[in-house]
Symmetry: C2
Subunit: 125 residues, 2 copies
């Protein structure tokens, strides 16, 4: 069970940042109308608003490199919490940005997961 949680967390993270770096609008597949994103303190709700925010970020190309992934069951109905740290390299920038991000994944009736909670912060300093 614990191994499965780790596997789901890692597979999700690989999938999420691959889509983010290569086809950002397709991240819409991972959210639902009840999804919440807090991006650098800004609160956004629902798939359409979340994707609009992510697509309008002030860079076209980026590359995430993951440093750590920690996953835990959130204890009801198969939910999984995933905590990620890593760096974000923007095109034309010399230095990558450090970030931390957490996701709360909820099982779907189709046997997959969607992102209910998503909180993103850059780590300055």
């Amino acid at each position: 069970m614990e191994e499965q949680v780790e596997m789901v967390g890692k597979a999700f993270v690989d999938h999420y940042y691959h889509l983010f770096d290569n086809d950002r609008p397709s991240l819409a597949l991972l959210y639902q109308p009840t999804s919440m994103l807090t991006f650098e303190g800004q609160k956004i709700q629902g798939t359409d608003n979340i994707i609009a925010k992510l697509v309008q970020l002030p860079f076209q190309q980026c590359h995430h490199v993951i440093s750590t992934i920690d996953s835990q069951p959130s204890s009801f109905a198969g939910g999984i919490l995933v905590f990620v740290s890593g760096t974000l390299q923007l095109q034309g920038e010399d230095h990558p940005l450090r970030f931390s991000q957490m996701f709360h994944l909820i099982p779907t009736v189709e046997g997959s997961f969607f992102v209910l909670n998503d909180i993103f912060r850059l780590n300055y300093g």
Copy 2:
């Protein structure tokens, strides 16, 4: 409702790090046997094991300074996700350490909250 989530998150964070910095064993009040802590990748379960880990950290005195607190409802029965970033100053060390931490708070029958999920990471680099 949204304001209440923010208020609970902030009050919890203030309380948690005040206890951590001043009376670490009393953090036991905030965990339960089902609680999970992942500390720098190490998985620990249950109040007793979690407190043993926190009390045995290789420093006696420390001071947390919080930079950001982001809170969201985790959508079932009043649960709240709290995402924290800040610095940790250890006694005798010149430079504070940056950290990120997330908590999943679950309401208790007594009208308070306990920590079901706790993930802690230092932010290097």
